[in-house]
């Protein structure tokens, strides 16, 4: 699609600005080369934006954690040569230089090739997942029908890289940690996928732009019809978010690394830039899963209110993505780490049954789409009951005999 046609369909200069800019650059090229350079420009832009987002996400995370713990966080790194501090905005680059210049130790008995490939593969699969997310109305890098399937297939492949890292280190602690990480990742893969199915079911498509379009429009002229504002969508979003926390190894599910307890788990034998690559992959995975959550449940690039539609779609996507990432950080600052048995129990006895029941709720919701008038209330009541009753019952069973904890010797 060229820019002129897009402008005709949407009627906003800002909305088409990224595409217009790209066409300005690639318009000089001969026609047969254009698609290739177009794709390369798109990939380059995505990598640059996500790379910068990663850099400043680490800084934002440290600063927000600091604020929550009554301290300012990193704020002293000056900009080189001019010695201006500027709230420590140069900190990510100082960290990068440090990671690159550190010694890269490979254990003597390690499988050198796999030891090298593991971080690379992890990062590659993380970046692959970023390609299919619709960042704006016209900003879809990889547009194809089975995008949801592709996303989760590439996301699941990162588990392979985790095990690769543990096995190639030739360290039994690394290997055990990698197995533990796999147990966690596979446990949470199921609720993650099951929570996504209803969104696919309602849109009737595995293509992400179609799922976003399905959440467009306004009820009563001003209320957004995002999935998260329906009973099944809310439940699905919560399940998706919890599973995403576990899938991206984030607190409170960060026990594969457990930086304060284990020696970084499957990353024990990694140092220098390879170690930094693992963290880059973690943040990329976090961004990808947040982007997916925004796309599936929070209306993707849609504006929250009709009169705000003049703001370009990619801005709305960015705002939603950043808010979800902030919640990731907020949760990290709040909750203590789970134990291994609590982790798997929570997945298999709570999240998976809830996600399965949520499928039924979503089916009911889609079958009763035609109900109107007083039947609307019946629809909402039944759907809410289908969400809340299993939640309460399963929650009671989950915490039976466990909570509230009593302390025998402490008062």
């Amino acid at each position: 699609m060229n820019a002129a046609l897009l402008f005709a369909t949407t009627g906003s200069v800002l909305e088409t600005l990224p595409v217009t800019l790209r066409d300005l650059v690639t318009g000089w090229l001969p026609e047969p080369l254009r698609w290739l350079v177009n794709s390369l420009v798109g990939v380059g832009t995505l990598l640059a934006v996500i790379g910068l987002l990663f850099a400043y996400l680490t800084l934002a995370e440290r600063k927000i954690l600091g604020r929550i713990q009554n301290r300012p966080g990193p704020n002293r790194t000056p900009i080189p040569f001019i010695n201006l501090r500027f709230f420590g905005l140069a900190q990510p680059f100082a960290d990068g230089v440090k990671a690159i210049t550190k010694e890269d130790v490979v254990p003597d008995g390690a499988d050198k090739v796999l030891h090298f490939l593991a971080p690379v593969a992890l990062l590659a699969f993380s970046i692959m997942t970023l390609g299919v997310i619709p960042y704006g109305r016209h900003l879809v890098l990889l547009e194809f029908d089975a995008a949801v399937l592709y996303f989760f297939a590439a996301g699941a492949a990162t588990e392979l890289a985790v095990f690769m890292a543990g096995w190639a280190s030739r360290n039994k602690y690394s290997l055990l940690a990698a197995m533990r990480a796999l147990a966690q990742l596979i446990s949470y893969e199921l609720p993650l996928l099951l929570s996504v199915v209803p969104a696919v079911m309602l849109a009737g498509s595995l293509a992400l732009p179609a799922i976003v379009e399905a959440q467009g429009g306004w009820s009563y002229g001003f209320l957004p019809q995002w999935h998260v504002f329906t009973p099944w969508g809310f439940a699905g979003f919560i399940i998706f978010f919890i599973s995403a926390l576990a899938e991206s190894n984030r607190s409170p599910f960060d026990l594969p690394e457990a930086e304060s307890e284990l020696i970084a788990g499957h990353l024990t034998e990694y140092s220098g830039f390879k170690y930094a690559l693992f963290f880059m992959a973690e943040y990329f995975g976090m961004c990808a899963l947040s982007g997916m959550g925004v796309t599936l449940f929070l209306g993707g690039w849609q504006a929250p209110l009709p009169f705000l539609e003049f703001i370009p779609s990619y801005v709305w996507f960015g705002v939603k993505l950043l808010s979800l990432l902030l919640v990731f950080i907020w949760i990290r600052a709040t909750f203590p780490r789970l134990r291994m048995d609590q982790l798997t129990r929570f997945a298999w006895k709570f999240l998976v049954p809830l996600a399965l029941i949520n499928l039924g709720t979503a089916a009911f919701w889609s079958l009763t789409a035609g109900w109107s008038g007083p039947l609307q209330f019946v629809r909402w009541a039944v759907a809410l009951a289908l969400v809340l009753v299993p939640f309460t019952l399963l929650g009671r069973r989950l915490s039976a005999g466990v909570a509230p904890r009593t302390y025998r010797y402490a008062t």
Partner: protein
């Protein structure tokens, strides 16, 4: 209900995050090199020598080189050499003074025992903590000139304690003066009586008051000013 505790926890951290921007009680970190922390009055490390007068610190040191602190110091970081001559102190009385008074701060453990044993309130605890040096030996061995700090500085760092010390010293000085006057009066009276051949001995009170605290055997507390008479 399951999850309510999680929401409460999130509220706590959110409150702390927002509060860190406007509530000093929730943002207690002091950015050190630019902002110096307000030290509590009781904070102490490394002793210094008190001098009465800031313009002439060497001439008005309270220290009379009695060497009690040197002997009591557990890590033995104090080195004192007595002077051969006497110089008038702040009260104008001739006293021995420390020709050399050195404290090795690489050895000192800031135990405050030297302060507790000093009968003259001449050595007190300082509040310096920026003590990094560029040389390992010379800069860490503080001499008399580096250790001497005026009484006004002492008032600045430990106001309550310094006021107590000053009040005690003033009272002791006053008592000593009165005793001296009484002794002079008694002496004059005795002289007059001797002249009149009516033998009545001068009172022995000053000597007894000097001896009695030493006989108790406890840790020597700062002694009254009249003690000076015993040393000099």
């Amino acid at each position: 209900m399951l999850g309510s505790g999680l929401l409460q926890g999130l509220a706590v951290t959110a409150k702390n995050f927002v509060g860190s921007f406007h509530d000093p009680a929730r943002y207690t970190t002091v950015e050190y090199p630019e902002v110096k922390p307000a030290l509590p009055e009781a904070y102490r490390n490394f002793p210094f020598l008190v001098s009465e007068n800031a313009t002439d610190p060497m001439g008005t040191l309270r220290c009379v080189a009695c060497q009690i602190c040197e002997k009591e110091c557990p890590p033995q970081c104090i080195y004192i050499e007595k002077s051969k001559d006497k110089k008038p102190d702040a009260a104008g009385k001739p006293q021995i003074y420390p020709a050399i008074f050195a404290i090795d701060t690489s050895v000192c453990m800031s135990c405050q025992i030297c302060v507790e044993v000093c009968p003259f309130d001449a050595i007190k605890m300082d509040q310096v903590f920026e003590i990094a040096t560029t040389t390992r030996f010379e800069a860490l061995l503080l001499n008399r000139e580096q250790l001497a700090k005026p009484n006004s500085y002492y008032h600045g760092i430990h106001p309550t304690e310094a006021a107590e010390v000053d009040a005690r010293l003033a009272a002791d000085r006053k008592a000593a003066e009165e005793k001296a006057q009484a002794a002079a009066a008694a002496k004059a009276a005795a002289a007059a009586a001797a002249a009149a051949k009516a033998a009545s001995p001068a009172p022995k009170a000053p000597d007894e008051s000097r001896r009695s605290p030493q006989g108790e055997g406890g840790p020597p507390t700062p002694k009254p000013q009249s003690e000076r008479g015993a040393v000099s």
